[in-house]
């Protein structure tokens, strides 16, 4: 079941003076399914925050279809079970952490009797239980992010939209926030995560959309994005021998400390390599597809897009 559906979404900001119009999002189409952690990646100005704001009705799309929880985002009902942690937020500084959660709860239409208990529970979840009565203006950046996450969770949302949730948070806090996200996913809820920290997205996200200049350049699972489908690391007693591989099968691209790395034209080519090694009585210990970090994959894609004639994505590309 889709929690979010975007079809041919376009957002153009009309600016005054000579700068002309800015196309923040250009024909973006994607679906976010219930229960997944969906990562949004892209360089600055790629349109990630604009996309989130459109989902929440904070910004209106120029054209295109947007459906959130079965409703258009302009309908306040679509936000009933949505939580949002904005980027660079400035929560009302006259409030305490508890006051902010109470205001958020009231604005979400929660019964007054339920708000206090829920707020106390969330303060404990984000490690802010000792700071609930302190004014927000006295909070550090990391504490602001924690209280921001708590206010986003106040209405027990089915869709949690987080824009740079670990910005300014210390390493311990980052792990705690990751644990909260995993807990939310375990409850069958959906998370839309926008982060510059690719390792963070890699560690929790199920699927990722990579945006660049307002377009979705790649939309795929993290495992597909990080694997090089036709490159294999073979752990074997190859020594420094060079194994000759016919051109139509592939090529040996490196000799490694434990064996070698090959690049194949087709997946089936791996059988030829195994046969060849065994005929030479070379012991094989393991064969694994080469994996990149999401960061490496992201940079490869972004650099590829920036060069003339670069590919427009594969597989789930939109």
């Amino acid at each position: 079941m889709n929690i979010v559906t975007l079809e041919q979404l376009v957002k153009i900001y009309h600016t005054r003076m000579r700068r002309g119009n800015i196309t923040a999002l250009n024909e973006v189409s994607l679906d976010i399914e219930q229960g997944e952690i969906f990562g949004l990646l892209g360089p600055n100005g790629a349109g990630k925050t604009t996309l989130m704001k459109i989902l929440l009705g904070i910004t209106r799309p120029t054209t295109g279809q947007v459906v959130v929880m079965g409703l258009p985002p302009g309908d306040a009902g679509s936000r009933e079970k949505v939580g949002y942690l904005p980027e660079n937020h400035r929560f009302p500084s006259h409030l305490t952490g508890m006051g902010l959660l109470q205001l958020a709860g009231r604005m979400c239409g929660m019964p007054t009797s339920a708000i206090k208990g829920r707020a106390e529970e969330l303060l404990a979840v984000v490690g802010m239980d000792k700071w609930g009565d302190t004014k927000i203006r006295k909070y550090s950046k990391g504490m602001m992010q924690r209280i921001g996450l708590a206010q986003a969770l106040i209405n027990d949302p089915d869709l949690l939209c987080l824009d740079e949730p670990t910005d300014g948070v210390d390493p311990v806090g980052k792990v705690e926030i990751r644990q909260v996200l995993e807990k939310v996913r375990a409850q069958g809820k959906t998370v839309l995560l926008n982060s510059h920290l690719l390792s963070e997205v890699e560690s929790v996200a199920d699927r990722v959309a990579i945006l660049s200049k307002g377009r979705v350049k790649r939309l795929d699972s993290v495992s597909n994005l990080t694997s090089r489908q036709l490159e294999y690391e073979i752990e074997a007693d190859v020594g420094d021998r060079f194994i000759e591989i016919p051109e139509e099968i592939g090529k040996q691209i490196a000799v490694t400390a434990n064996g070698m790395r090959v690049e194949l034209k087709k997946k089936e080519g791996i059988n030829y390599i195994i046969d060849e090694l065994r005929q030479r009585r070379i012991n094989i210990y393991s064969i694994q597809p080469v994996r990149l970090s999401l960061e490496q994959s992201f940079f490869e894609l972004v650099q590829d897009q920036s060069t003339p004639g670069g590919t427009q994505g594969t597989g789930g590309a939109v």
Partner: protein, 265 residues
């Protein structure tokens, strides 16, 4: 809008404006006591009953006039003190918090404006009641029509909020809101000399512009006179200042909501 009035109250308590209200009120209370002996001397004067009645009326007018000016100062302070609330609420990084909640934009905006009007208006009324109570005790004078002065202050605040709210949403700037409020105050004051302008200027276009502005814009000075007359049991011949000022505010509130619903944050 649930929560926004309470939020406005917390915001008020957190601000130094509350101290300013307190200082003005204390000065007003001291003034009441300062003129008490003068009032007592007037009363002790050995005068015929008709004159005593005239003295009573004069004192009554003094009480109503004093209260009116006191509340006028509080309205002024409130307009200056709250002009930044709407731009601040919908500034970058804060608007996202409010607008991501499951409430319509209309209810968020009107909830905040209603919160400002009721919380700050309530505070004005409380301060006014304190001063009025002190006057009643000190001068032994009371007339129920004095409450028209409170209505005048609340109506004034309602109209001013429509102006600062509209400019706040339109420009997102505290400075612009303040400047718009000042500009409106000056223009409406100049328009009180409309009849003199008509006698001096011959140009029909200028006269038409002056006339249009006069009927369109709120008339705070005349509104004050109107409510003072009601408070002093005087007949009111012309209700135009009240209806046109209220119509101006209502139109501006509708325009503010329309604008707010279409704005990207």
């Amino acid at each position: 809008m649930r929560g926004l009035a309470a939020d406005t109250y917390r915001e008020l308590v957190d601000r130094k404006l509350l101290w300013l209200y307190g200082i003005v009120t204390v000065i007003m209370l001291l003034s009441v006591f300062a003129v008490q002996s003068t009032v007592d001397n007037m009363r002790l004067a050995d005068a015929p009953p008709e004159m005593q009645e005239q003295i009573g009326d004069a004192l009554g007018q003094y009480v109503i006039g004093g209260l009116y000016w006191f509340l006028g100062i509080l309205v002024f302070l409130t307009v200056m003190g709250t002009a930044g609330l709407i731009p601040s609420m919908f500034s970058r990084g804060r608007a996202e918090f409010y607008l991501s909640k499951p409430a319509s934009r209309t209810s968020i905006l009107l909830g905040k404006l209603a919160g400002i009007w009721s919380v700050y208006g309530g505070l004005m009324v409380l301060a006014g009641l304190l001063v009025l109570g002190t006057m009643v005790v000190a001068y032994d004078l009371f007339s129920a029509t004095v409450f028209f002065v409170f209505v005048a202050a609340l109506v004034d605040l309602f109209i001013w909020l429509s102006v600062t709210g509209f400019v706040g949403v339109l420009s997102g700037s505290f400075a612009m809101s303040i400047m718009a409020a000042f500009a409106l105050w000056i223009i409406q004051w100049l328009l009180t000399f409309r009849e003199a302008v008509e006698q001096l200027v011959d140009n029909s276009l200028v006269l038409r512009v002056v006339d249009t502005l006069y009927y369109m814009l709120p008339k705070f000075s005349q509104l004050g006179d109107l409510f003072l007359a009601m408070g002093q049991h005087k007949p009111v011949d012309d209700w135009l200042p009240l209806w046109s000022s209220l119509a101006f505010a209502v139109v501006l509130y509708i325009a503010t909501v329309w604008l707010f619903k279409r704005k990207d944050y």
